[in-house]
Amino acid sequence: MSAWTVGAELPARTYTVTRADLVRYAGASGDFNPIHWSDRVATAVGLPGVIGHGMYTLALAARAVAEWSGAAEVLELGAKFTAPVVVPDDEDGVEVTVAGTVKAVEDDRVRLALVVTSGGSKVLGNPRAVVRA
């Protein structure tokens, strides 16, 4: 994307997350923490059930950024994992939506403020990215 306008709202993207996605991500990333695939372990440590990897949610945020920017080089990316994304053991999974606003354009650096929600609630705190214009 060549023209970034400060204040522009980027079209929200919605992605579906299923247990199969978490298993695939575990294998790809090397994060085999059982809270992401075992209800038994997840509930034993006080979680409501299997939760998605925070990094999977952040990867979906990065996916939206890549789609908006035409796969621009990412210079910074980050977020707090403020609420778990509980992923049910069914075919439908759970939806995660990524919205974004162009916060600043400084030389060739474009700063994006993101809003990442699931079930209508924010799941990431201060999700943000900086891409090269």
Binding site: G30, G54, A59, V65, V74, A79, K80, F81
Partner: protein, 138 residues
């Protein structure tokens, strides 16, 4: 069990060299839904969160050294600052440093920073993570 605050400032051993392969990037990209390449070669960057593979290995070294069970860790925060894009063929290592440890509602909140470097010592990416460690229930 809670973590000893004296670990602040501690650096853990550098991870074994990791060679970034096209196949691994492809697998990671497929898992996060961003196609990496097509018949004509790469169509995008390596996914931005790919360096977590290195940062995760560095974290595992820390957990092992401090005898902390992975299932007691919840990821609190993660950020990446990139000096350059990661590309297949890169040989990368990561080294984790503990930035701070504080106690919050019975959990240890551990801030870490992992420097991801190439064989010449050039910084490729800094990955900072906050790890929330929940001890055994009293």
């Amino acid at each position: 069990m809670s973590l000893d605050p004296s670990i602040v400032g501690r650096r853990y051993p550098t991870t074994a060299p990791y060679t970034v392969s096209t196949e691994k990037v492809r697998e990671f990209a497929r898992a996060v839904g961003t196609p990496y390449d097509g018949p004509e070669g790469p169509v995008s960057q390596v996914p931005a969160t790919f360096p977590i593979v290195l940062a995760f290995a560095a974290m595992n070294g820390f957990l092992e050294a401090e005898e902390v069970d992975l299932s007691r860790i919840v990821h609190g925060e993660q950020s990446f600052t990139y000096e350059r894009p990661v590309a297949p063929g890169d040989v990368l290592t990561a080294r984790l440093t503990i930035s701070s440890v504080r106690s919050l509602g019975g959990a240890d909140v551990v801030a870490t920073s992992s420097a991801i470097t190439d064989p010449d010592g050039g910084l490729v990416c800094t990955a900072t993570a906050t790890l929330v460690h929940r001890g055994e229930a009293a």
